[in-house]
Each structure stands twice: as structure tokens, then as C-alpha cells.
């Protein structure tokens, strides 16, 4: 099991990493990041609702969060390198596939994916695609941050859920207590959920702590599939090409051997 932070984010997460405490919706900080090439422009996904285009959603590699953090620490060259890595990832085939998959989803579900949620009826290649992007991002992040200095990431599986906190267990066994509201904000507050706690030191006695959703890049359970039974919504889920096909007129059934059925 390899637990990685969720591989895609929205712009607000990047702004928050650059200017924690300020409004994540502010235009200025993101413009600064872009002007200095400390962040990518992201990938645009068409948003659909009720069969119509409803604007666009922009998704970013989570590497942009790291580059924004580095920029805040004044490590501007490292920030640029990581943003270039993010741009390479976002222009690669894995991101292109993700873009296609998200464009097929209703816009609400596509936005939920950015928050770390796999829709219940998600096509199976969505999970595969996210895992592959997460795996690549981890490789790039490891290469760059080994030099530039990493934030402390405590990633694991939630083992206990209490009224005020959850207990997060690393694969290696160490445990941490996380306020439950933080886990909930990361869409992870059930036993078994994967969560990461990212601690970025500000000064000797203060830090920015973010709870973010995580994903197991080696997990194959998500991909388990049975063609039998009624439980798996993937059996019923169509994409746009399927819809175009089924909108045609079905031809009469072929019965090549006459058969008598006794009841």
C-alpha cells in the first residue's frame, strides 16, 4: 500500500498554500503565482448539466500546491521547477484521460472529484486514472522536495472515529489524532478512509496544518468488478458515445434456432 495525497486540486487549494489565512477565492495571489510561473494554468473541463454545457471547471495537479508553498518560503527556483513538472503532468496522456472522464460526469460530481470524492457511479477508469496521476506526482514531488525541503506529511488510514477526533494510523504503525472537523472537511471521516495531514512550519512554534484527502496508488480493491448481480452501477452507466448508439433504432432480435419454452 502506498498512500499519496489526492492528485488533483482546485485553484483555492493552491491559493491557500501560497497565502494561508487569506481568502482562497482571491484573484491576486493566483495571478502572482502565474506571473512568476510558480503555478500552472491548469486543465479546463467542460461542465455539463441537464445535457447542456454550463461553463468550465479548471483542475490542477496537486504539485501546484507544493510549488505555491515553496514560493511562499522564498524558494522560487524550486517552485518554478515543480510548477514545470506540474505542467508536464497536466499535458500528459494521464491528465488528458482524466479530463475526458470528468467531462462525461455531471458537473457536481466532477467538482466532488476535486474534493477527493469518487462518485458512487464513477466509471472504473476514473479511479485508475487518478491513481496513475497520483503515482507520477509522488515521483516528481519526491525528486524535487528531497532537495528543496518537504513539509511533514502524515498519511494513513482512519482507524477510529470519535465524536471530536479521528485516529489516523500510518502503514508503519504510528498514530495521530486529528480533529474530526478537519477530517470531515477533507471528505474523510469514516473508518478505513485514507487521509493525509500536511504540516508546513511557519516559525519555530507555529505551522499551517492541512488535512487533505489521500488515495492508495497500489490499491486494486476499488477496481474489483463483477458482471453479475445488481450491485455495481458501472454495469448501467453509459458514456456519450453509448448514448449516441442507443439513440438509434434497435433492430429485431435474431433467433437462429426455433425453441419452445415450457413454463
Amino acid at each position: 500500500m502506498t498512500i499519496a495525497v489526492w492528485p488533483v486540486v482546485g485553484r483555492s487549494r493552491i491559493v491557500h498554500a501560497f497565502r494561508p489565512g487569506e481568502s482562497a477565492a482571491a484573484e491576486g495571489p493566483f495571478r502572482t503565482l502565474r506571473v512568476h510561473r510558480w503555478a500552472t494554468s491548469g486543465v479546463r473541463v467542460a461542465r455539463r448539466a441537464a445535457g447542456r454545457l454550463r461553463g468550465q471547471l479548471t483542475i490542477f495537479s496537486s504539485l501546484n500546491v507544493e510549488s505555491a508553498r515553496l514560493a511562499r518560503h522564498g524558494k522560487t527556483e524550486a517552485a518554478k521547477r515543480l510548477a514545470r513538472a506540474a505542467a508536464a503532468l497536466e499535458s500528459g496522456p494521464e491528465f488528458t484521460l482524466l479530463q475526458q472522464i470528468l467531462s462525461e460526469l455531471p458537473s457536481v460530481e466532477a467538482e466532488r472529484v476535486l474534493e477527493g470524492v469518487l462518485p458512487a457511479n464513477a466509471p472504473p477508469n476514473l479511479a485508475t486514472s487518478l491513481k496513475e496521476i497520483a503515482r507520477l506526482a509522488e515521483q516528481m514531488r519526491g525528486r524535487e522536495l528531497a532537495v528543496a525541503g518537504m513539509p511533514d506529511v502524515f498519511a494513513g488510514r482512519i482507524a477510529e472515529v470519535h465524536e471530536a477526533y479521528v485516529v489516523l494510523i500510518r502503514i508503519t504503525g504510528q498514530a495521530a489524532m486529528i480533529p474530526r472537523w478537519m477530517a470531515a472537511a477533507a471528505q474523510r471521516e469514516e473508518v478505513g478512509d485514507l487521509l493525509a495531514l500536511v504540516t508546513d512550519r511557519l516559525q519555530s512554534s507555529s505551522a499551517v496544518v492541512d488535512a487533505v484527502p489521500a488515495i492508495d496508488v497500489n490499491d486494486v480493491d476499488v477496481l474489483k468488478f463483477s458482471s453479475f448481480g445488481r450491485g455495481d452501477a458501472r454495469v448501467r452507466r453509459l458514456n456519450s458515445a453509448d448514448v449516441r448508439l442507443l439513440e438509434g433504432a434497435p433492430e429485431a432480435l435474431q433467433i437462429i434456432v426455433p425453441v419452445q419454452i415450457d413454463v
Binding site: 462525461e104 477508469n125 448501467r236 452507466r237 438509434g248 434497435p250 425453441v259
Partner: protein, 174 residues
Amino acid sequence: MACAPRAPRRSNPACLIHLRRLAWQLEVERFIQGELIEWSFDPYAASGDPRLLLAFVRATRELFGVGAHEREILEGPDGATFAATKIEVLAVASAWQGRRFGTGERASDVLMSAVMTDVSIRVPPRDARVFALVHEENVRSLALCRRHGLVEEMSRPHPDYRRIVTRHRRLDQP
């Protein structure tokens, strides 16, 4: 949908292929032996009109195959829905795989024809869209589907499984 498995023969050079196929073939066996009856008679699924067909050789009363199908509603990304029939399972007994009756028909063709006949006579009528999920390595079932008109390929619900449906005349075709 699949034919029931044959035991791998170690002396056979195709043994490894048999072993690789065993996983999805066993899944068929387990479903038939452990879940098919419940699937057929689940009161909560009655609206889908589930049908279980047992195919016997009339002369010997030998069970040579099992088929099942039900109504399914397929859902598009924008909320469009399509009524269809899902072939839940179609399995020919090991002893009858690849065999023909004295009259020349393949056992598998007779079984599939029985399913298609049953679909076509349901009241209220079933939609003529009939689809099946077939493991991509299950070449015999894929060929069987092709012979019976399941020739259009839809998206895969899983990388290993093909979803094939009966032929449709596209809207832009005359």
C-alpha cells in the same frame, strides 16, 4: 456470461491459459451455484422481470445449460435512460461445450436462442436492446454473442469486460 470451466490439464501445453481463465470462469460457476436462485427470486427485483431458464435435453432430461436475463435501465451521463435487457448469465454444462445436437445445432446456439425467444415474448414487451457483459478473454462467448446479433460495442464497465449490445440503426442512417 461464460461457459462453465473445464479443469486444467497439467500435461496440456494450454494449461497456463486455462489457469489464467480460471478466475473469471470460476466467477460464473460461483454465481450460478450460490447466487442465481436468489437473483431470480429476489422480491425487491421483481420490477426487472428477472427470468431464469433451465435448458434440458428432452430425450434424456439432461440439464445442458442455464440462462438468465432481466430488464435493465441504462443511464447516460446527462440523465438520459434507455430500457434494455441484460443477459445476466448464459452457461453451457462442461459436457456440452462445443457439442452439437443430432439435428446439427450447437448447444450454445440453442441456449442463446431460448434466451432471445424468451426476451421477445415477454409481456409487457421488453426493449429490443439486449446487452451482455463478457470477459475479453472469453472468446467463445464473444463469438456466440456475435452469431446472435450482439455486435455493437459499448464502453467497458471495467477494463477486462466488454459490453456488447444488439445492432442499432443509427439516426443518421437511412
